[in-house]
């Protein structure tokens, strides 16, 4: 017993979700310069911590975020391995001010700051080691 409407909806949902997932997977974790981030800075006070001497990896997380722990492990490791680098994790739920001002729509969102706190790169979703390493070099050179 087949419901024709259900069959059509099922095919449409699987196709749309497959396309969405493929596009999303290609963009996730790509650290890019965003036009909207031009001229945006974060201070140590806003971060509730301190800026790295050369580069700061700011990670917005929530407790109910499935890919945040893996991002945390990767960023911690790379920050520890890079002189003058710091990793700051921010609970997005606790900081609606920053989430609103910086247009954080999903977690994890990672911002890479230079030594002045200027946002030079941004990515969301699961993080990629090669992308983070490259962004650290860009920020440290800036």
């Amino acid at each position: 017993m087949v419901d024709p409407a259900g069959l059509v909806v099922c095919a449409a949902v699987l196709t749309a979700a497959g396309l969405f997932g493929t596009v999303r997977a290609a963009h996730d974790g790509r650290l890019r310069r965003r036009r909207a981030d031009a001229g945006r800075f974060l201070s140590a006070t806003e971060l509730g911590g301190h800026l790295g001497e050369r580069v700061t990896l700011v990670q917005f997380s929530t407790a109910l975020c499935s890919s945040c722990p893996a991002a945390r492990r990767l960023l911690r490791e790379l920050a520890a391995a890079t002189p003058g680098a710091a990793h700051v994790e921010i609970d997005a739920e606790a900081r609606p001010d920053l989430v609103g001002r910086l247009d954080i729509l999903r977690t994890p969102t990672v911002l890479v700051l230079d030594r002045h706190g200027r946002i030079v790169r941004r990515a969301s979703g699961p993080q990629r080691r090669t992308e983070v390493v490259a962004a650290i070099e860009v920020a440290a050179a800036g």
Partner: protein, 152 residues
């Protein structure tokens, strides 16, 4: 403050392959429910969501199946993850499942189709891409709540 980590200490940890397996089974069950327009089958899946959300994924039928059949063949996981995100996703699935079951069994049928389609999209994204739709929507929900004027 680089020592402050969101979401720690973990309340409970699970083998991350369990929820992925459960999402694959859920995708099949929801697709069959949708194609056959079966209210009882969607009701059964909704019960599975309820157990996963209320008791935890380890006690959900798919979680038990994973541990009894697949886990012994796969060996121990390389990594464990916090149980809360997938458990939250089960709660989101429960919401869709309840609406869909009402739609199919009481009416209107379009509600059954729409809610079942929403749950299918989320389960398929999780199974195929490891993408947690409920977790993504969580921050947007928090932002909407924060946008209300009565909140500081």
């Amino acid at each position: 403050m680089s020592d402050a980590f969101v979401g720690t200490p973990a309340a409970a940890v699970i083998d991350p392959r369990g929820p992925r397996f459960a999402a694959a089974v859920t995708t099949v069950v929801l697709a069959v429910s949708l194609v056959t327009g079966s209210g009882p089958l969607l009701a059964a899946q909704t019960l599975v969501f309820a157990v996963g959300a209320l008791l935890g994924l380890r006690y959900s039928p798919y979680g038990l199946l994973y541990r009894a059949v697949l886990r012994p063949r796969l060996g121990p996981p390389e990594d464990v993850e916090d149980e809360r995100p997938p458990r939250f996703a089960q709660a989101v699935g429960l919401g869709f499942g309840v609406l869909g079951t009402i739609g199919y069994l009481v009416g209107p049928v379009w509600l059954g189709i729409a809610a079942c389609a929403g749950a299918l999209a989320a389960a398929f994204l999780n199974a195929a891409f490891g993408y947690c739709l409920g977790c993504e929507l969580y921050l947007l929900a928090v932002r909407l709540r924060g946008a209300e004027p009565d909140r500081g």
